[in-house]
């Protein structure tokens, strides 16, 4: 569980780390803590999964990855754990989740987001997923985003 100091640390870093030689000391100064404590807390939060990773967070669009396809698959429930793990391990899949079906409109229970430089590249990568899953998927589809209607960052109050 997060304590009040963790939440202040989140608020202080959600726009990024200070780009100075000693960023953790700088954060420590802002928060009134020791550098060693900042480092220990970040390590714990990383180990616990509250931080996914620390580093460069690319803007996919600016890097030319302008096509984003949500591939969705109807996979037998008893196979979804094993197949999801294999699909997530592909290096072009950015998110991979099992989600509930909404029958009859929505038969799909496995979601794998694929980013590419063009819709052709996304289709070809979805083809690789299809080959990997094989007959275990009854059907699949790819939903391209045609417009971003809203996009805001994570907002955490201190």
């Amino acid at each position: 569980m997060l304590d009040a100091i963790d939440r202040r640390l989140i608020a202080a870093t959600q726009q990024g780390l200070p780009l100075v030689r000693e960023p953790y000391r700088e954060l420590a100064g802002r928060l009134g803590l020791d550098e060693a404590e900042i480092i220990a807390r970040l390590k714990r939060l990383l180990d616990d999964g509250a931080i996914r990773r620390i580093g460069a967070i690319p803007n996919h669009y600016a890097l030319g990855f302008t096509a984003n396809g949500m591939s969705v698959w109807d996979v037998a429930d008893e196979l979804v754990a094993e197949i999801g793990a294999r699909v997530g391990a592909l290096d072009f899949v950015t998110h991979c989740y099992e989600r509930p079906r909404h029958l009859p409109l929505w038969p799909y229970n496995l979601f794998a987001m694929v980013h590419g430089r063009s819709s052709d590249e996304v289709h070809s990568k979805v083809g690789e997923i299809a080959a990997l899953i094989g007959p275990a998927a009854c059907s699949h589809d790819v939903l391209f985003s045609t417009r971003i209607l809203k996009k805001t960052g994570l907002r955490i109050a201190a």
């Binding site: 997060l2 963790d6 939440r7 870093t13 726009q15 990024g16 780390l17 780009l19 100075v20 030689r21 960023p23 953790y24 000391r25 480092i39 970040l42 939060l45 990383l46 999964g49 509250a50 931080i51 996914r52 990773r53 620390i54 580093g55 460069a56 967070i57 690319p58 803007n59 996919h60 600016a62 890097l63 949500m70 754990a81 793990a85 699909v87 997530g88 072009f92 899949v93 991979c96 989740y97 099992e98 989600r99 509930p100 909404h102 409109l105 929505w106 980013h115 589809d141 939903l143 391209f144 985003s145 045609t146 417009r147 971003i148 209607l149 809203k150 996009k151 805001t152 994570l154 955490i156």
Partner: protein, 150 residues
């Protein structure tokens, strides 16, 4: 797409995770990339300023830090699409909203500190729009090893 010089490329490809938790992390990370401490700091700053990187630092897991997140989809009639987008986006709990080419043509993410709030927002949107919101909470998350290569 922005042209990336070798320094920028090394940063984007080599530093999407594993930034050191040491007193001089830019010096230590720079060693592996063949960059000096100051070159790395300046290079990252330039990539953030140009928008090539959204930011540099921790990528927080929204759910694990006490919030709740739920994907939801709606089938919105074409003639009402813009008006419904405005109604949905007016809720501060809507973090992302995308138009997608499908009968379910509006896909958005609801996020809130309190999981009960998610259900309330979904109920409010259904009431305001008269349209069914299909909640698609994740049942399981699979590990992804994704790295952008440029």
């Amino acid at each position: 797409m922005a042209f990336l010089d070798p320094t920028a490329r090394a940063i984007v490809n080599g530093l999407q995770g594993g930034f050191p938790l040491t007193p001089r992390p830019f010096r230590d990370a720079g060693r592996d990339l063949g960059l000096s401490e100051d070159e790395l700091i300046e290079g990252i700053g330039a990539l953030v300023d140009s928008g090539t990187l959204s930011r540099f630092g921790p990528l927080w897991n929204a759910e694990q830090i006490g919030g709740a997140v739920c994907l939801a989809a709606m089938a919105v009639p074409a003639e009402r699409f813009e008006a419904v987008a405005e109604q949905v986006n007016a809720h501060p709990e809507i973090a992302h909203n995308y138009e997608r080419a499908h009968q379910l043509n509006m896909w958005f993410v609801v996020s809130a500190d309190d999981p009960r709030r998610i259900n309330q927002v979904i109920a409010d949107i259904e009431q305001e729009t008269g349209l069914k919101v299909h909640a698609m909470p994740k049942a399981r998350e699979f590990f992804v090893g994704f790295r952008v290569e440029v």
